[in-house]
Symmetry: C2
Subunit: 237 residues, 2 copies
């Protein structure tokens, strides 16, 4: 039986062997929710950058540039990390370069995996279906917040584990923990997350609308996948 494991932070990813695994990068608030939204709305590709200036330089190459640090849009960038920014008609068929505080770092730390895909509550069932139909073991990689563990990413991972336990064997204590946490949240995600550090942080930025949207399962039936450094629609890849 294939195995599924959960890594809770980019600071712990070196303890996992990525080879021959499908890595699902999860940054619910908000990078992987944005990437999912963008691909679902017809963006051609999204290229992740860890470094702000590398990302900014893509503007000259005809990319839209998205930059977020500490929850806010970086000056001079076309947009930040709100999923609603990625639903625009003008972005259909375009390329985006993106850098965020946590999510893009996690994507770049996933190199070496068999495949890297993007997971969020917004496309959770599509991710589950994709993993079921592949032959590889799966590693759910939670982006966290500056190395710290985030509850919302852990819950998203737990929900994926829970949906896959008939086809995958859980590997490791964090996998058991994530599954127990989503069971404890019992479909009351928003109330369970009240008091979580990231939700508190985003409340201060007045983006409750983003939070509510990012916690809504199955808005989109897409799986963004990393191909030659760009995230593209699996269906089109």
């Amino acid at each position: 039986m294939r195995s599924i494991e959960v890594c809770l932070s980019p600071e712990l990813i070196h303890l996992h062997d990525l080879s021959e695994k499908i890595v699902v990068v999860i940054d619910v608030l908000r990078a992987t929710s944005c990437i999912t939204t963008a691909i679902a709305h017809g963006v051609e590709s999204i290229t992740p950058f860890s470094n702000l200036e590398d990302c900014r330089a893509m503007k000259a190459k005809g990319y839209f540039i998205a930059g977020e640090r500490n929850g806010a849009t970086v000056e001079g960038f076309d947009f930040g990390n709100s999923p609603f920014s990625y639903m625009k008609e003008e972005l259909v068929g375009e390329k985006i370069a993106i850098t965020t505080t946590n999510g893009t770092t996690a994507i770049n730390k996933s190199l070496g995996a068999s495949d890297v895909i993007i997971g969020s509550f917004l496309n959770i069932q599509s991710v589950v279906n994709y993993l079921k139909n592949q032959e590889h073991n799966a590693l759910l990689f939670c982006s966290g917040w500056k190395g710290r563990v985030s509850l919302e990413d852990t819950l998203c991972a737990g929900s994926i584990v829970s949906s896959l336990k008939d086809s995958f064997q859980t590997d490791g204590d964090t996998t058991i923990a994530a599954e127990a946490l989503i069971a404890a949240a019992n479909n009351h995600l928003v109330s369970f997350l009240q008091g979580s550090s990231h939700v508190e942080r985003l409340k201060k930025l007045d983006i409750q609308k983003d939070v509510d949207f990012c916690l809504t399962p199955n808005q989109y039936d897409v799986v963004p996948i990393l191909k030659a450094g760009e995230l593209v629609d699996l269906g089109a890849a």
Copy 2:
């Protein structure tokens, strides 16, 4: 109100500020359970070493030496990491030097804290009472397994958080997660931990008796505390 936070792994401790905090090191299976047992049974002091050879060298200075790697006793050491080894009459009033795979590393990574104490299920109520009666913020530091998160340490931390929530404000998502996990375990620790990686590992070493004992709350009313590099009984310190 004072705050309480949980660090899930020695690989994440650099993300926490230890200054002016009481750090509770937790390594349920089995280092902090052994240290608690030893102090409760009259051992004078336990000196933690990260390095095996530094620990071995203490034999010549009249110490009993305890060495564990990968769950097993290291050759040439007086004993390993079973709490039952520390209940012997011959150890009363003696000094022990100890090195273990995870727990002693966590203790040595706690330097810089206001105080470092030892927590386990065996002395959990004593730890709770001590934290209540101090003025400092608390950081519960789970030792994990070779950097990975361990469920049993997380559950012990969650149980401490749960007992202190009237006097402390929870700080961080791992604190919320640990508390939710102990609530999910609902006093059925042993069955909840079935399938956890450490319990599986120890089963292979045939030490179910150790596991059962280490998961039993409130066997001892002692708080080992680090003073000048040695763990001693708080009551005697």
